[in-house]
């Protein structure tokens, strides 16, 4: 069982935003999507989440086409986090995070929903912001709360609602979940995603930080010009020749001195071969 896109193409007018992209996310793994601006990363997430209809190809979750899932059931098995969106009115950070549990509680959260939120807000270091008005938080703080909301939607709960899916096979599609975070919060967020993946979630995350992808992703999908040019383990995808070709700048890739994954360093002053 997987969350899979096969040979999807997305066009807007005469522009092709995504061409013939195929990708699978397995439960238990983190797939990072990397690539330069305009490579089609957000379009890939939007096509996977069903926000845009591909001109060709199909998106399938757990053996069933996305369109065939009843909206409520889909929402209980898959959460989507898009890039920073304003929340109207003066909802608190806690209220916003609790909305992630809406597909399960339908408007009447129970104690276990609150426990899930408390725990996740703690994990993204937002416990002290819980009562603050969401709209007044900084960009990074809003991103952390939105991440907690997305994870809450598919998180395990002690006292689950009757509507909760029996399977632990659930998915997270995250568009730049860490782009505005400082290093400590980036790693906290990625550790949290690792924990969710270990609990059975399939995670797809757009990441600009290649070293974050190298450290936490099981596989990296590298995109360039509306295509997925390479997909595989970080050591296979994060190669200097490939990165230089895609990002059009000199790149140094060395073994991490302490950890078993590559380290990517952009070298703006070096000469490109």
């Amino acid at each position: 069982m997987t969350y899979a896109a096969s040979e999807i193409t997305v066009r807007v007018g005469s522009a092709t935003l995504l061409e013939n992209a195929s990708l699978e996310v397995q439960p238990g793994e983190i797939v990072a999507v990397a690539g330069p601006n305009g490579a089609g990363k957000t379009t890939l997430v939007r096509a996977l989440s069903g926000d845009v209809d591909p001109a060709a190809g199909s998106v399938i979750m757990a053996g069933r086409a996305l369109r065939q899932w009843p909206p409520g059931e889909l929402a209980r098995r898959r959460a989507v986090m898009s890039t920073d969106r304003a929340v109207a009115f003066a909802f608190s950070a806690q209220e916003v995070a609790l909305m992630g549990r809406m597909p399960l509680h339908g408007g009447d959260p129970n104690d276990s929903d609150r426990a899930v939120i408390d725990s996740l807000l703690g994990a993204v270091d937002c416990t002290h912001l819980a009562a603050r008005v969401f709209a007044t938080l900084s960009t990074g703080e809003r991103q952390r709360v939105q991440l907690a909301r997305a994870i809450a939607q598919v998180a395990d709960a002690d006292d689950a609602h009757e509507s909760a899916p029996e399977t632990s096979e659930r998915y997270l599609l995250l568009d730049e979940p860490t782009s505005s975070l400082d290093p400590a919060h980036q790693h906290a967020a990625m550790r949290l995603l690792r924990r969710e993946a270990d609990a059975g979630r399939g995670v797809l995350a757009v990441l600009h930080d290649l070293n974050l992808a190298a450290a936490y992703a099981d596989r990296v999908a590298l995109m360039h010009d509306a295509r997925i040019v390479e997909i595989g383990p970080p050591s296979q995808v994060l190669r200097a020749d490939l990165l230089e070709q895609v990002f059009e700048m000199p790149m140094l890739v060395i073994p991490h001195p302490h950890l078993p994954h590559p380290l990517v360093i952009a070298e703006p002053h070096a000469e490109l071969d």
Partner: protein, 324 residues
């Protein structure tokens, strides 16, 4: 209920009400006082409360759907559309000879509802860009739409030459002077259930605050919610306008005050706004008929005197968001 051109003391009010229930007179009162209270004042207070609840509920619905506290159906042209529809409905009812009957009141309300829906569709069409309503565009479109509908309403009033249509000022500033019992009946049957249904949709409106796409990812059928909420605010606006014309700023102010009071969840905001809207408009109507008694002010004069400065304050508060 005691305040007005014919003075009735609270004790006399109680005595008349008890008298209606068949009890003997506990305090002295005149027949004139009894007639004024039962035929005019009681329907008027009830109608005012229901219309206040209707405007406030419509405000919660419009603001929730368009994701901004700066929306008021009376300001974005939906009230004006309803007024045009109601005026046409009155003209039709007069020509059918049913203007003084329940069916006439229903005809006026339905006509106002259809026109309010049409106005809401125009506002949405003009002000939405890729599924999101742009607040500044909505307010600007509202200026044009309101003026356009007011001009059309004036045309209808002038062309039909029926005294039942009243004056242009009635439709654009509002008044409860002509309220009768069947108005209360129609308003009550529509307003109370509509506000309760809105409260039931509360959690879905909360999720909509995250954005339409995000609400969709939470399993909410956003197109269906949009239609349901639009029908609710068009219905509430239509009832309010059919009874007493366009009364601006109630729908704008009341939800914001209630949010500051009970918090953001739309479930509570809808109920709270219904209650506060009713209370606010009853007080405003007492002021409208007593400040310069026996001359009666249009109730819209009172609500605008309070509401316009409130709107400016709200614009100041929200201008950072509007500039985006």
């Amino acid at each position: 209920m005691g305040i007005g051109a014919v003075a009735i003391s609270p004790a006399e009010v109680v005595a008349i009400l008890l008298g209606q229930l068949g009890l003997e007179q506990v305090w002295e009162y005149t027949d004139r006082q009894e007639t004024v209270l039962t035929a005019i004042r009681i329907p008027r207070v009830l109608a005012t409360a229901l219309v206040g609840a209707a405007w406030a509920g419509a405000g919660v619905a419009v603001q929730g759907l368009y994701r901004t506290p700066l929306a008021d159906p009376a300001l974005v042209g939906i009230g004006g559309g309803a007024a045009l529809g109601a005026a046409l409905g009155v003209a039709a009812a007069v020509s059918l000879g049913i203007v003084a009957q329940l069916s006439g009141t229903l005809l006026v309300t339905v006509s106002a509802f259809v026109a309010a829906l049409a106005a809401a569709a125009i506002v949405y069409r003009v002000a939405s860009a890729s599924g999101r309503v742009v607040v500044a565009t909505m307010l600007l479109a509202g200026i044009a739409l309101s003026a356009f509908f007011a001009a059309l309403t004036a045309l209808v009033v002038a062309a039909s030459r029926t005294p039942e249509l009243g004056t242009v000022a009635f439709w654009t500033l509002g008044s409860f002077a002509g309220v009768v019992g069947r108005d209360v009946l129609v308003a009550g049957v529509i307003v109370i259930p509509a506000v309760l249904v809105l409260a039931r949709l509360g959690p879905r409106l909360d999720a909509l605050a995250l954005g339409e796409t995000e609400a969709g990812h939470l399993g909410i059928d956003v197109p269906r919610l949009t239609i349901a909420v639009t029908v609710i605010f068009a219905l509430l606006t239509a009832v309010a306008v059919a009874v007493a014309g366009v009364i601006a700023f109630v729908a704008l102010m009341v939800p914001t005050v209630v949010r500051a009071w009970v918090g953001q969840p739309h479930r509570f905001v809808a109920i709270g706004a219904g209650l506060l809207g009713a209370t606010f408009l009853v007080i405003a109507d007492v002021l409208a008929r007593s400040l310069f008694s026996p001359v009666e002010l249009s109730i819209g004069v009172i609500t605008t005197l309070v509401g316009a400065p409130f709107f400016l304050w709200l614009l100041l508060r929200e201008r950072g968001l509007l500039a985006r």
